[in-house]
């Protein structure tokens, strides 16, 4: 035997051993019953699945299905301008891409999904990312790289026709509005009745403004210095928040209920997105990006160091759809609840944004597109671990709506114990005291739960008097910070989209320099998400119950759109043999979004179906009855109207999927009738012929 083949055999043997190790870990996670499983098994199983998926499946996609060509010049090589188009080292670009795709989604979704136990969420994240999410990101990055880094909307228009492109644009605007509303709701829920949290998050506004002035006037362009100063000030503000919360006078000034916070958020969103970017948005974006990456790394290290036991059962009784956190059965709603982390349509926008303009070699599409998404899935797994490591009683106390728990720790403990998760009122009071809050009941939205989970894990590493409360508010700040950044950046994106749409009616409104156009479009965008946000805040079921599924459906709808487009491109390239790589996740996402939309529309259970809930309130109002939390017939009619509106939005999402499917099939059939490849790639240029 030659040394080459020996090494080859050794390599294969190594992978076999690794695969067996992964299978053993997964076996422990899936099959152990009765006693708690240690989180390290779950982490090892996840790492094994992700690594094997990367090594084998992504390689197959890269070499065989897409046939990445290292000899083909990328847009960065052909159009190098030192600014937008820059050939970039693959690891540096990996960092850029990951920072752009990682957000609040993979942290919140898995926490909410934990109500069904840790196993369903884990399996979906792992299978979803390997066969759907990472495939989508990689294929879209490939398509955009072959088309000069053009955006998803543009590419759909070019390959599938103008109508399909316009429908996709409409879908993207709708998802934007719902995303901003639901993220705003997460922050409102985290800060309501919490002077400490509210103070620290409010403090980020002057801190960011100071950084903005520093980077523009005092020391222009010094990102590292400004960010370090900002970071120190953030830590000071967390400490100061504790002082504020302890002082009755000051605490009262930062004590707000959900409605007040929702209004503040709406006003803030409007003001922040018309201010110059260097003043508030950019500096806070820097701060939140670095804090996000840093916290993810710290959390990973802490989980490995602490190795907590998973207190949540592998599977809870709530897989039947009767759970208090969100309603609906495992299929399709688990696959909607965990969107980001398994497969996220939003990534298709990032993969066709700045990343393709900076690739130095086509073969790096595998690492950046596929590998970047695997890392996001790992973040989702860590969020799931943090939530499942909590006592289930605490988890359900935090995530169930007030309507299910009653107003006191006694009623909450009684309700939760009745669901089969033992908890005493003292434990609930004690947990609230430890994290420096007045109560932990009904702190829905995922962020506070993750914060308590993270605080408990980090507290095991760095403990001490009051450290638990510090870590809790650190985690709240970390989440709120990048959600606020998303809100004003997102409002800006929405504004430009609306200006484009308005421009088709009245051309001058399109000019981005026009103050009228700016204010009108920003106002419309803020009013759009503000409406849903406020509705979520006053919702009897806690809002997350209504808005998160809508967001999930929207995000998966966008993924379905991107994947339908990917199928069309592969067929146009005459790669029909490999179209199953994208057709398989497409079919699954179309199925999930359509079934979920159908159930959200027509399910007879008013907790699930918008129309039956609307009817319930409308009928009661007609017969003069008043159902909680409505206090008047006017309130009742408003609840009914909001449910009709949610239903309309849901129907719109389903319609967008169906029409795109139609245009996709049409384009695919036309391509099959043609004997030549018809994909509209930029012409081949050899990498060797372009200087760098």
């Amino acid at each position: 035997m030659t040394t080459g083949t020996t090494a080859n055999w050794m390599g294969k043997l190594g992978w076999l051993v690794f695969a067996l190790f992964g299978a053993a870990c997964l076996g422990v996670v899936a099959l152990q019953r009765g006693e708690p499983v240690n989180a390290i098994w779950l982490v090892c199983a996840a790492v094994a699945v992700l690594v094997i998926g990367y090594r084998f499946y992504s390689r197959f996609i890269a070499d065989t299905a897409l046939q990445l060509d290292p000899g083909r010049a990328t847009p960065a090589l052909r159009r190098n301008d030192g600014l937008d188009f820059v050939p970039t080292d693959k690891w540096v670009l990996y960092g850029h891409h990951f920072a752009a795709i990682a957000g609040a989604g993979p942290l919140v979704g898995p926490v909410l999904a934990a109500q069904m136990g840790y196993l369903p969420g884990t399996l979906w994240i792992l299978a979803g990312v390997v066969f759907a999410g990472a495939v989508q990101d990689m294929v879209i990055l490939f398509c955009s790289t072959r088309r000069d880094g053009r955006s998803l909307g543009d590419m759909i228009r070019a390959e599938m026709g103008n109508t399909a492109g316009t429908i996709a644009m409409l879908g993207i605007l709708a998802i934007m509005i719902i995303l901003l509303a639901v993220l705003g709701l997460v922050v409102v829920k985290a800060l309501a009745e919490s002077p400490w949290g509210t103070f620290t998050v409010a403090a980020t506004i002057p801190i960011a403004m100071f950084m903005g002035i520093y980077m523009r006037w005092l020391r222009p362009g010094k990102i590292l210095e400004a960010s370090l100063i900002g970071l120190v000030l953030l830590f000071v503000s967390i400490w100061l928040g504790g002082v504020v919360a302890a002082d009755p006078d000051w605490a009262a000034r930062f004590h707000f209920d959900g409605r007040q916070l929702a209004w503040m958020m709406i006003v803030y969103g409007f003001v922040a997105s018309v201010l110059p970017v260097w003043f508030l948005l950019a500096p806070r974006d820097y701060l939140s990006t670095f804090l996000k990456i840093g916290t993810i790394v710290i959390l990973a290290l802490a989980i490995v160091a602490v190795r907590p036991d998973l207190q949540m059962p592998a599977v809870t009784r709530f897989i039947d759809g009767s759970g208090p956190v969100w309603s609906g059965s495992l299929f399709p709603f688990l696959f909607i609840t965990i969107a980001c982390g398994a497969v996220s349509g939003f990534h298709a926008l990032i993969s066709s944004g700045t990343t393709p303009k900076m690739l130095d070699n086509e073969k790096n599409i595998r690492l950046i597109g596929y590998g970047g998404m695997l890392t996001e899935a790992f973040v989702a797994i860590m969020a799931l671990v943090a939530a499942a490591a909590l006592q289930p009683g605490v988890y359900f106390a935090m995530n169930s709506p007030a309507a299910a728990l009653g107003g006191t720790v006694e009623s909450a403990a009684a309700a939760i114990s009745q669901w089969g998760f033992v908890i005493t009122p003292e434990m609930l009071t004690q947990t609230a005291k430890e994290i420096g809050e007045s109560t932990i009941l009904s702190r829905t939205g995922g962020a506070p739960t993750l914060a308590v989970g993270m605080a408990q894990i980090l507290h095991s590493v760095i403990s001490g008097e009051g450290m638990m409360a510090f870590w809790y508010h650190y985690a709240i700040l970390f989440e709120a910070l990048f959600i606020l950044t998303t809100i004003d950046a997102g409002t800006r994106v929405g504004r430009f989209m609306i200006q484009d749409l308005l421009g088709t009616v009245h051309a001058p409104l399109r000019h981005t320099e026009s103050w009228t156009g700016n204010l009108v479009a920003t106002g419309l965008c803020v009013a759009g998400w503000g409406w849903f946000l406020y509705q979520g805040v006053v919702d009897p079921l806690g809002g997350i119950n209504t808005l998160w599924p809508l967001f999930g459906i929207a995000n998966q709808m966008l993924a379905a759109l991107a994947l339908i487009f990917a199928c069309v491109v592969l067929i146009k390239m005459k790669r029909d043999r490999y179209v199953w790589v994208v057709a398989m996740p497409t079919a699954w996402l179309v199925l999930c979004t359509l079934v979920a939309s159908w159930q959200k529309l027509f399910h007879e259970n008013p907790k699930i179906g918008f129309l039956s809930n609307a009817k319930r309130f409308a009928d009661a109002a007609a017969s003069g009855q008043i159902l909680a939390p409505a206090k008047s017939i006017g309130d009742m009619q408003r609840v009914a109207f909001n449910n009709y509106l949610d239903a309309a939005l849901c129907a719109l999402f389903a319609l967008v999927v169906l029409t795109t499917l139609y245009f996709g099939l049409r384009a695919a059939l036309a391509a099959r009738r043609n004997s030549q490849p018809t994909a509209l790639e930029t012409p081949y240029v050899a990498a060797a012929s372009v200087g760098t």
Binding site: L83, W278, A282, D285, F290, A489
Partner: protein, 67 residues
């Protein structure tokens, strides 16, 4: 074999480049090299101008951020 100090310095440089690009500011050195080669004789942007230009570009048409 390179000296450990050189390796560390190289790693730090790469880390800074990654951090800057993560917030949308590409490598200034690459820009200067590209500019000198493609537009000889013209003055390149100063780092401050380059930074302001990239900041404006990052949010110019609004930037898609992930959930």
């Amino acid at each position: 074999m390179r000296r450990p100090v050189t390796l560390l310095r190289e790693a730090w440089r790469q880390l800074c480049e990654t951090a800057r690009l993560a917030v949308g500011v590409p490598d200034y050195g690459s820009y200067l090299r590209h500019h000198a080669q493609a537009h000889p004789g013209q003055a390149p942007l100063s780092y401050e101008q380059f930074f302001a230009d990239r900041l404006a570009a990052r949010y110019a048409r609004g930037r898609s951020r992930c959930c």
